[in-house]
Each structure stands twice: as C-alpha cells, then as structure tokens.
C-alpha cells in the first residue's frame, strides 16, 4: 500500500543511520571489535554510544510529535515548541529548580521543567484564543515574543545569581553529556507519544474547531489542554536532558503533512520517524565536521532547519497548500483556488 510505503522507507533509513551512528565517535570502534569481546569498547558502547543513540531517537520523535500536536490543536502550521514558548518555559523551570533547590536531582529539575512548560504553553494558547488573530503568522510571532520575554527573565535571573554557566547546558542543545544514568528521563517521551497516538482522533477533531468538536460530542477545552499538556511534557523531558533544540517541531510536521495530510493517525508515525532521522543526521554531521571534537546539535539543526524553513515558506508562497503526491503524477483538474471567504452573518 502506498500509505505504508513511505513509513517503511523512513524506517529503513532510520535503521541504517542508527547502526552507523553507533560506530561514529572520538574513539574508533568497529562491530568486529565488539564481537571479539573487547571489554573496554563494550563499556564505551553501553555507557555512551547506545544511550546517545536512544536519546537522539527520543528527542527526534518527541520534538516532532510535540510540534505536530501543537500545530494540529492550534490549527496553525507555524506553532511549535519553539514558537509556542514551550521550550523557553521549560528552561525557566530548570532555572527555578537550580535556584531554589541547589542540590536538586535530575528528576526534581524535570518536575520544575514540566510544570513551567505546561503553564507557559497554556498561557500562550489561552492568550491566542482570546485575541483571535486574523493573520495566521501573528500567532507564532506572538509566541516567539512571549518566549523571548520568558527567556529574558531567565537570563536576567541566571545572571543575577551567577547561574549563567550552569544554565548554558540547557540553553544550547547537545548530546555530548548524554551518558548512562543521566539521560533516562528522555524515555518519558515514548509513553507520551503513545498516548498522543491513542487520542489522535480527538486532537484532530479539536483542531477542526470548537463548533466541529461540539457537534461530534468532543469536549473541546478538555481535549485541547490535555493535548497541550502532553506536548509540553514531551518537550520538557527533552529539554531537561538535551537542552533546547529548535526547528524540529516546526519543520518536520510541515514536511510530512505535505505528502501525508493532516490526519494524525496517518502522519504521526511518519512524523516521528522523520524527526528521528533528522536529529540523528544532524548529530552525525556535528560529530564529523571537526572530528574528533563535536559541534552542539543545536548549531547544526539551527543552520539546516532555518534553510529548510525558508524553503518551506517559499514553497508555500508559490504553491499555496498544494500537496506533494508521492508515486503518482499530480492530478490537476477541478481543483479550484481555495479562498476562505468569510460569510455574512445572520
């Protein structure tokens, strides 16, 4: 079936890249050395390489699914953990944990990050619902501004209490500190993504609007804020371990939507796989460029992501929301220009 084919291709690519990535790093390692029972290399493999790979996969899956959910729930293609103030709220939460509980463990920092991320996202969505912007681009702009305000407060507090150094780990995303025993929180993304998949139709219906949901007996506000909570928790669990990784939640869902449509049940798996491939690819580039040192992933993702994002914007400007048809020649015919004309009132 055509719809499954893209998923299988993505799965195959991810499989190959994953195995390959395990043998890329500062210390040379080959599968044959592992098979020969080299204990030192096994130790590196289990303590660093494997955790790193798992963290990368969780990050890619988590951030892109969180982005997908936020875009669907807000029915705005430009909303994402970056442009919805979720990431900066999570960072603010981590700073609070560092300030008030100086000896805090990773888990208590995670709790702070969860709380702040959820609250920040709620406030943002509540705000954009109250204002009702005519122009869809206003929503992410407001999100970016809101995020920057939170980021500014975070920086100020960090500076005041001489926490800038400590906080920088979470400001720029990187995988170099991912080691066994201090990254496992990122696994939380897995059950959360499963939860998102189970409620996918609910989120779809809510994305179609308040009236549409009510007609089908779906409680709009409950599902909206539940969905945002899941997206915020996914984001926060990534930020706590890896730090800020922008763009993935924005561009990956947009690319997958272009060929798979907006039905979450149909796109979620592709989005997750695509996100994982993207992060893994960027990480491998980051490790290869100045080998044996490495560049933080945020740098690579930022460069590639912004280029792709600009490309997407140009594509949208040129073709509107026209889809890319895989495997078949594009059908043109009675596709009339889609102009959302506001009707009169009664």
């Amino acid at each position: 079936m055509k719809s499954v084919r893209s998923t299988l291709v993505l799965l195959a690519v991810l499989g190959v890249l994953s195995v390959w990535s395990l043998f890329v790093g500062a210390i040379d390692m080959t599968p044959s050395q592992l098979l020969a029972g080299d204990l030192h290399r096994w130790e590196i493999f289990l303590a660093s390489r494997l955790p790193r790979l798992l963290a990368i996969l969780c990050t890619g899956v988590g951030m892109s699914v969180a982005g997908l959910m936020m875009q669907q729930l807000c029915s705005n293609k430009f909303v994402s953990p970056t442009t919805g103030a979720t990431i900066s709220s999570a960072q603010f939460g981590i700073l609070l944990a560092l300030l008030f509980l100086p000896n805090s463990t990773l888990w208590s920092r995670a709790l702070f990050a969860f709380g702040a991320a959820i609250l920040g996202t709620w406030v943002f969505v509540w705000f954009i619902q109250r204002i009702r912007f005519q122009d869809a681009v206003m929503v992410p702009l407001v999100g970016v501004m809101f995020g920057n305000v939170i980021g500014g407060v975070t920086s100020y507090l960090a500076y005041q209490y001489e926490m800038t150094q400590a906080l920088s780990t979470w400001l720029v995303g990187h995988f170099s500190l991912v080691l066994k025993g201090r990254y496992e929180i990122v696994w939380l993304t897995v059950p959360l993504v499963v939860l998102a998949f189970l409620f996918a139709n609910h989120f779809n219906i809510v994305g179609l609007g308040r009236d549409f949901s009510k007609n089908l007996g779906v409680p709009y506000n409950v599902v909206l804020f539940l969905g945002l909570t899941i997206a915020a928790m996914i984001t926060a669990s990534v930020v706590v371990v890896v730090g800020s990784i922008s763009y993935i939640g924005l561009i990956v869902p947009n690319i997958v939507t272009m060929y798979k449509g907006d039905k979450i049940r149909g796109t979620l798996v592709d989005t997750a796989l695509f996100g994982a491939i993207f992060v893994l690819g960027c990480d491998m580039i980051g490790r290869a460029v100045i080998h044996p040192y490495e560049l933080p992933i945020e740098l690579i993702v930022g460069v590639l992501g912004s280029l792709i994002f600009v490309g997407l914007l140009f594509y949208r400007l040129k073709y509107g929301r026209k889809s890319i048809r895989l495997g078949r020649a594009p059908e043109t015919g009675c596709a009339a220009p889609v102009a959302a004309v506001e009707g009169g009132e009664g």
Binding site: K322, A340, G346
Partner: protein, 250 residues
Amino acid sequence: MQIQKLSKQYDGKTVVDGVSFSIPKGKVISLIGPNGAGKSTVMGMISRLIAQDSGLIHFEGKEMGKWKSRELSKRLAILTQSNHIQMKLTVRELVTFGRFPYSGNRLTREDQEIIDRAIRYMELETFEDRFLDELSGGQRQRALIAMVIAQDTEYVLLDEPTNNLDIYHATNMMKTVRRLCDELGKTVILVLHEINYAAFYSDYICAFKDGKIAKFGTVEEVITKENLSEIYQVDFEILNIAGKPLSIYY
C-alpha cells in the same frame, strides 16, 4: 423539539427576545430574516453551540442541557459557516469523523458501510481519497453533508449552507436538503438568506425580525406580500411558479 421563551443578550443588547416555537418532525424548516434578526443565534442555541441566557429547549423529552454531549451528537448534527476546513484531510477521513460519536477510535464494519453509503449518497466516490483543499467549494460542502449523513442523526441543522456557493451548487445543495428529509426522513433546520430557496424547498418557514419571531407557519402562510414587505422593509411581489410562492424584490 420545543423552544420556550429563548433569550440571548450580547453586551447588554438583546439579540434574541423570548422566542418560542416547536419544530415539526420530519420536515424542512427554514429560518429567514434580515441581518441581525437573531436567526443564527437561535440556531446556535438549539444546536447547543451557544448557551441561552434564559428559556428552555426540550429535545426528545429532555431538557437540552441535561443531554450528554455525546448522546446528543447521535441525534442532532450541526454544520456552521465556520466549517471552512483548512486541514489537509481526505473526503473519506472527514466523513469517518461522523462515526466518532458512535465508535470513537474503533470503527466497526457497520461503520465502514455507513461511511461508504454516505459517500455514495453524496456522489463523492471519485473524490473520496482526495484532500479537501483540492476540491471546489461545492464539493467540500457535499463532503461535509456526507459526514452529517454518516453521523446518522434525526435532526440536521445547517447554518447558511448555500453561502459562498454559486447558483448551480447552491441549488443542488437545496435539493440535497430536500432529499435528506424526503428520502432519509430527517428533520432539517436551516438558516437561509435566499427567500426563494426557503420558499421552494422548505415545508415551514420561521421569519425573524429584531430578535423575535415575526411569522411562523407553512410556506404559503409566511410568504405573502404583506409579511415580507413588513419583515424586510422593501417592496415585494409574489409570483406563483410551480405551485410555490416565489418573490421578487426591488
């Protein structure tokens, strides 16, 4: 469905003022009136999208507010103008949502058959795997109606279904409304701007003016020169065409 003394205010301004009427079952009922007469607001209240300030709506023996939302969505469907869908869903995916109140995420074979039938009924078979944003306005409207058919409700409420459609598609939409009533036995309540569509395709007309019911009755009772001139404040001529009172205004 019985409506008693329904009222609604926005910012201190009374939009709907003590509206009472009962909706005959298995008929097409059109709500007409000038802009701001309150017809859409009444529609919003009887479809539970808008909460009334006072008054009662009895629906199938129970007060509207006492119904569980999900149970209600098996008996009453509403399409509003705000349903211009921006999402990239295929026709079939949209129609499938109509089964959500019944089966949630797990579609049975019976659901699939109902979805197939709804798509066939609206003659959308050739488009069923196309994305909605690739279709014309008329086709998209038909897809939404197909979803409502799949929702399999006794009552279908349509808020200005002919809005933004050209004459061809609007007329077809009205014919579909008639079929929903005659063939599928549904009670259809519409808000319409075009008086002649209302006159030609409905059984009953409820005319609103200034938040109150100006006239409620059969088409012949409501569509008269005096009534319409009074309601719309312009001159009307009524012609009898194909046994229906059609109006000309100038």
